[in-house]
Structure formats: structure tokens, C-alpha cells
Amino acid sequence: MNVKKLDVRGLKCPIPIVKAKQEIERMASGDQLEVMATDPGSVPDFQGWVKVNKKVSLQSQRVETDDSGRQVYVHLLERLH
């Protein structure tokens, strides 16, 4: 199982989900993608997106603070099949 990181900090929607979708397409079943975003709207966006994309599941979401003091929303996704 591989874990890949995707940094979309500072980018506004739809970019975080467009890029996450591209990465997920290239992954194998069981691989994980950790997405780091700064838009708080990304939290409900990822929750909504995984309901309509059948190839991905949302494992967890957490909030961290990066070196510049920004809140970072970390979304852990998994490729299903």
C-alpha cells in the first residue's frame, strides 16, 4: 500500500478535488492519498465528493497548523477498487 501526499494549500475550489480525482485515477486499490488544503470548505466538499465518486473513500479528516500559523485541513482518502 502506498501513501501519496497532495499539497493544495492556498488553492481554491474546485482545484483540490480536481487534483485529488486525478491522483486517485492513477492509484491502485488500497493506496492512500493525503490531501492538505487551507480552505475550510474543503471539509464538507470532500465528504460530499466521496458520496458521488465510487472509487474512493474518506478515511479521516483532521485540522493541523502549519509553520506559518495557517490552519491546514488534512483529508485522508483511499482508492477502493
Partner: protein
């Protein structure tokens, strides 16, 4: 070169400004609003106009996954489609998908952030035959339900409770051939970032706040203070309750800029601090004593409204104190303990950004643009909820 230019022109015509969107809705022009934000954002805050309009909700990530099904969910008719999202990025993508499918779709530029920032000014009618030196302009931040005021007399102007789009007030003052000499905040706002310090700074005016929040700079306003703007006199009334430092401004003895103390249909909530009982007690005294001295015909000019139905046909929001005394149940509770209990029952959670906004306003700290937009999302929630019967 020429193709780049035509692309630019085309790009421009594919966008709709928040001001134009509101004007179309208010005028009842045929229009379909497609909101592509997520469920949570759509449920908590959306475009509102003076007339009902057809609104459809399909999140942008559904267009990303199932474009054909998503397009099929938009009613097919001749109405133009205004596509809106949080900041204008996702809606731009969806509008393009729709145009590729032959639909007349336009992106609402800047999304809900631009909608929430948009300001419009309307002159308050001061009554027939009123020929005073005073002119009152109400500046309505439609997306948030925030009201600020520009008072002009002779060649001077005072601005009350400005939003952070300070250039709007400067342009309004300039169009009235007046210079802004005073900027006042009626209290430490928790729902929006004050434009007061920046506006005062940019226009060479004095920034004034109630005594408890005067800090080391600026000018303190206490109960009984008098402000002169041109030829007009404004009296400061200490009206604690919504917050301990809240003031109202009584202009020419008749027009009350009531801050968050009185609204057109109710009162300001006393539960945004840590002491709802103490603040409710102050609010009751303010309502039963300080404001009870004002005549019934006093025009109430509030800092907020909760619902677009409060906007009058002339585009302004106001109340007549006498009518408010009859219609607002909160103003009819004579017993202090009963009032405090009612306010306690009406307590509800405040948006999580409110303490951060209040703190930045109190300390007069500038806040970065993206953070400011994030904090200011949503309509104001400053009115006291009606206690359930």
C-alpha cells in the same frame, strides 16, 4: 493580440457581478440561480432577493463526476442561469460545462464572498416637509443583513458602523460633496470586521467608540456626549445590554441609530458574551428606562436585519419606536427577572468565528483578506431569538 482581446471581452460577458444578480432578482427578471456549493454551505447561507426566484442546488463535484446527470437536473428553459459558489472558482467551471451543453450560464464573479461584501446605499426619508440640514443614507450589506449609515450635514459627514469596504463610504461622501469628519462604531461588533479605524485613517476623520473600548487611541463616547456634524447635533445614549459598551446615537432628537440594541422587529441578543444574565439585566434597564424616554415617533435605524422581508419598498430598513413597543414581545416584559429568564431561554450558539471577529475589532488588528472573508461568512445572527411560547 486581437484574439486575446476578444477572449477577454467574451470572458467578461460570461460573468455576472453580485450587484447585477441582486438587481435582476429584485426586479423579478427571469433567472435561474444554480448554487454549486456543498450541502452544508448551501443550508446555512444562500442568495436572497426582494422577490422569490427559482434556485437549484447541485454541488460542483457532482458536475465533476456525472456531468450529464447533473446538467439534466437543471430545468431546461430560456432563463439565463446564474451559477454561484463560495468564491467563484467552482461556479466558473460549472458555468463552462453548462455553456458547452448549450445553456446560457453565467458565473457570479467572486461567488458568495462578493455577494456578502456588496453594499448598496439608500436615502432615508425623513418625513414629508422635513427641510433640515440633515441627510441620512443607509448602506445595506445585503448578503449579511448589516446596515451602516452616512449622515451628512452641510459639508461634513459622519459614518456609523462601517463595513471594511471603506472606499464605498468615501465615494458616497464625495458624491454628496462632504468630507467624513467622524467615524463611530456603536459597539464591538462580533459578526463583521469593522471598517472604522481604516475609514477614519483614510479620510482624516476621528474614530470614536464607546468608552469601554476606547483603548489607547481614538476618542471615547460616553452617555450624554454630543457630536456635531455640519449643523446637526447627535446625542450619545449609553445603552448597555447587547454588549456592555453599546451606545445608540440620537440625531436631532428624532432619528435613532440604534446599533444592535433595537432592530426593526426586535432587539439585540444579550448572549454573545459570557454573562447572559448580567447583560440581559443591563438590556432590560436600557429598554425600560433609557429608551422608554424617547417619543413613539422616533425612527429606529438599526445596524442589522434578520430577514429580507424587513426591507421596505423604498429599499430601506427602519422601524417606528411606537410600533415596535406594540409589536415586539421583548419590549413588553416589565419584570426584570422575567425578562432575564426569557433571554436565557432564547440563548443559542453563536457562529464560531464571532469571538475572533470581536477580538480583532476590540484590538483594532488588521485581518488578512482571505481570513476576513472566511470569518464573515453567513448572515448576521445578532438578534435575540424569540422565546418559544
Amino acid at each position: 493580440m486581437s484574439s486575446a482581446l476578444s477572449a477577454e471581452v467574451e470572458e467578461h460577458s460570461l460573468e455576472l457581478q453580485a450587484a447585477d444578480l441582486l438587481a435582476m432578482i429584485d426586479a423579478g427578471r427571469p433567472l435561474l440561480v444554480l448554487d454549486v456549493r456543498n450541502e452544508e454551505e448551501y443550508a446555512s447561507w444562500r442568495i436572497e432577493g426582494l422577490r422569490p426566484f427559482h434556485s437549484v442546488h447541485v454541488p460542483y463535484f457532482e458536475f465533476l463526476e456525472n456531468p450529464d446527470d447533473s446538467i439534466a437536473r437543471i430545468p431546461f428553459d430560456t432563463r439565463p442561469i446564474a451559477v454561484v459558489c463560495a468564491k467563484g472558482g467552482s461556479s466558473s467551471f460549472v458555468a463552462e460545462v453548462l455553456r458547452d451543453a448549450g445553456r446560457d450560464a453565467r458565473n457570479v464573479a467572486g461567488g458568495m464572498v462578493a455577494y456578502g461584501d456588496h453594499l448598496q446605499a439608500r436615502r432615508i426619508s425623513l418625513g414629508e416637509g422635513y427641510a433640515s440640514q440633515l441627510e441620512i443614507w443607509q448602506v445595506n450589506r445585503r448578503g449579511k443583513g448589516c446596515l451602516s449609515y452616512l449622515i451628512r450635514s452641510a459639508d461634513e459627514a459622519m459614518v456609523i458602523d462601517p463595513s471594511r469596504r471603506t472606499e464605498f463610504y468615501q465615494s458616497l461622501a464625495a458624491s454628496l460633496h462632504a468630507r467624513i469628519t467622524a467615524v463611530v462604531d456603536t459597539h464591538v461588533h462580533a459578526d463583521h470586521l469593522s471598517g472604522g479605524p481604516a475609514l477614519a485613517n483614510a479620510s482624516g476623520a476621528t474614530y470614536m467608540t464607546p468608552s469601554e473600548n476606547a483603548g489607547t487611541s481614538g476618542c471615547a463616547l460616553g452617555d450624554g456626549a454630543r457630536l456635531r456634524v455640519g449643523k446637526s447635533i447627535t446625542l450619545v445614549l449609553g445603552t448597555p445590554g447587547h454588549t456592555p459598551e453599546s451606545i445608540c446615537l440620537l440625531m436631532e432628537g428624532k432619528y435613532l441609530a440604534s446599533g444592535d440594541t433595537l432592530f426593526a422587529r426586535g432587539i439585540g441578543r444579550p448572549d454573545l458574551g459570557s454573562d447572559v444574565r448580567g447583560w440581559a439585566r443591563m438590556l432590560h434597564r436600557t429598554l425600560r428606562h433609557t429608551l422608554s424616554r424617547l417619543p413613539d415617533e422616533t425612527l429606529v435605524l438599526p445596524a442589522h436585519y434578520s430577514d429580507t422581508s424587513e426591507i421596505r419598498p423604498d429599499g430601506t430598513v427602519s422601524g417606528i419606536l411606537g410600533e415596535l413597543r406594540q409589536s415586539a414581545p421583548e419590549l413588553q416584559i416589565a419584570n426584570e427577572e422575567e425578562f432575564i429568564a426569557a433571554m436565557e431561554r432564547a440563548t443559542r450558539p453563536a457562529p464560531p468565528s464571532y469571538p475572533k471577529i470581536a477580538s480583532a475589532n476590540r484590538l483594532r488588528e488588521p485581518v488578512a483578506e482571505d481570513l476576513a472573508s472566511e470569518w464573515e461568512i453567513g448572515r448576521n445572527q445578532c438578534a435575540a431569538a424569540r422565546a418559544s411560547p
